[in-house]
Structure formats: structure tokens, C-alpha cells
Symmetry: C2
Subunit: 140 residues, 2 copies
DNA sequence: TCCCATAACGAGACTGAGTATCAGATAGGG
DNA sequence: CCCTATCTGATACTCAGTCTCGTTATGGGA
């Protein structure tokens, strides 16, 4: 169950597991696409009217830190978050419907290795994001 | 000369060429690394005390729009800008010294083609960014 | 199970990046 | 040179994100 794996991830990262953090995670996963922190906060308050604004923001960063969510940048300088496989960093985002698909690490690793070798760079992190129109939106 | 090419780029994009826009471009290029809009504004006011805050922000977006600069996201949810070859989108950023090197499109295009074919995605734009330590910082 | 140190929560104040407004200035085509 | 659409800059404003601090609750240890 995904909420259990998130709880374990939090514990492994030295973070406490709280009701609120699981609520945030559940909402993020249920939405299933990229969403701004503010919109997620509004959504959460419908089911959990007492949840705090700061808690949502803090929790989203915690989820990113333990690797089950990822922060994006939207147009207009606003952050958005998406539930995400741990350690996964590469995405295919449809800017029509907002759906985010994941890209396997295998596509990227060889490029990183070549760049590191060619430029003498020690690479700690990589981000590869493609933007376009998903198959479903292109059809419909 | 690079400022002339920037002027041409602005004109080609239907944007006017003003003294302030060239000043912003010149400062951005002289700095030669990623810089926040606020820091660039502070820097610009030393030489051009009457330049307006909004002008700097607007101009940076205009430079991005015509393809001679690129917007980054720094930690802490702050945008940073860097002078950039037109249409160039891929970078190698040293998080020790802030230097940004460019990555040739040739590294990325084959990956984009494979992803598009495998997933039925029509790709409009791609971002590939590597973060790590540059050769100079690793040595020193 | 109970305790308790410590981390997380929540209400609300605060910060500051970024934007809107608008009167005045200016680029640039005719 | 003129005219007008665009740009500038001073200022006010918005609102995403953070901080504070008193309260609550987790989770490890007795
Ligand atoms: Zn992912
Ligand atoms: Zn779509
Ligand atoms: Zn570049
Ligand atoms: Zn460096």
C-alpha cells in the first residue's frame, strides 16, 4: 500500500509520521497530477478543515526530501508538486491536461556519463523534463 | 558584437530596443553566471541609479522570450537568470561557484526522439540540467 | 503501559519576489 | 519631424512562502 511505503520512507529519513503528513500524501496521490501547494491546501481543507497552511507547505517539502514527491516550476513562478516514485527525477509533462508520466533512468544515465566525461564535471543530480502533448490529448 | 545581436533578437521578436534593455543585457552577460533578478537590479543601480525595479524584471522576461537568456529555479523558490545562447536549453551548473556551462543539443535530441516514439508524446520543449561540481572547483 | 523530550501542528503575523497601475518618456515608422 | 504605441519608473499592491510561538502528539525508553 502506498501510504505504508510513504510512512516507511518518512521514518527512514528521520521524519515523524503524522496524521497530517499522510493526509497530504493521500491527497497528492489521489489528484494524480501536478498541483500547486495552495490548490492542494484548498483541497485538503474540504476534508480536513483544521489542517494548517504551513503544515501543507512543510509537508510537501518533507515529501520531496524523502523522495516520494517532486517539485516543479510552473509558469508564473509558482511551484507545483506531484506524487512521484522515490528517487525518480525525469518526467514527461502534458501542458494540456497536466498529466505527468515518468521517464526511466535508463534514458538519462548514458547522457550523464558522456557529459561528465567530456566536461570534467562531477554530476550529483540531473533533471530531464519534456513538455508537450500526451497521446490522449493529441487524439481527443 | 553580442549587444547588437541582442538588439536584433529583440527587434525580430517585435520588441523595442531601449537603453535600459541593453543595460540589463550587458550586466547579465558581464556577470557571466546565474543571478537573481533582485541581485541584478542591485548591481544595475550602481551604474544606472534611475533604472526601475519593474523594468529589470520585465526586461529579464523579455530576454528569455527572445531567447538570449534563460530562467532557472534556485533553491528557496527564487528565480535566477543567465545569459544564454539563443534557443539553447541545456546546462551544467556548478552549485559551488554558480558557473553555468552549456550542453550541446546533440546530447539530448536522440533521447527526445526515443521518448517521443516510445510514449506517443509530441514533445515541444525539453529541459536537461545537470548539477554538480565543475572541474575547477573540484581541483581547488 | 506510561513518561517525556522533542518534533510537528496550527493560527496568524510577517517577508519579499513579482506584478499592476498610471503618468510621463521614448522608440521608430511614416 | 510627428504621432502613437510601447516602454519606463515610482509606487502600491498581491500573495506564495516563511516564521513565531503556544499547543499537541509522536515514538523511544523506562
Ligand atoms: Zn516521477
Ligand atoms: Zn494530456
Ligand atoms: Zn544556455
Ligand atoms: Zn565551480
Amino acid at each position: 500500500m502506498s501510504s505504508r511505503s510513504t510512512a516507511e520512507r518518512l521514518r527512514d529519513g528521520g521524519e515523524r509520521v503524522t496524521r497530517q503528513r499522510l493526509d497530504v500524501w493521500e491527497a497528492l496521490e489521489r489528484i494524480g497530477r501536478q498541483v500547486s501547494a495552495q490548490d492542494l491546501y484548498d483541497e485538503l481543507r474540504r476534508r480536513h478543515p483544521r489542517i494548517g497552511r504551513a503544515t501543507v507547505y512543510r509537508t510537501l517539502e518533507a515529501l520531496v526530501a524523502v523522495g516520494v514527491a517532486r517539485r516543479f516550476e510552473l509558469d508564473g513562478h509558482v511551484s507545483a508538486y506531484v506524487a512521484c516514485r522515490p528517487q525518480h527525477h525525469h518526467h514527461l509533462a502534458c501542458h494540456r491536461c497536466g498529466r505527468v508520466e515518468e521517464i526511466d533512468e535508463g534514458y538519462v544515465a548514458p547522457v550523464a556519463a558522456r557529459v561528465a566525461a567530456d566536461r570534467g564535471f562531477r554530476i550529483d543530480d540531473a533533471r530531464l523534463d519534456f513538455y508537450g502533448t500526451c497521446a490522449r490529448c493529441a487524439a481527443g
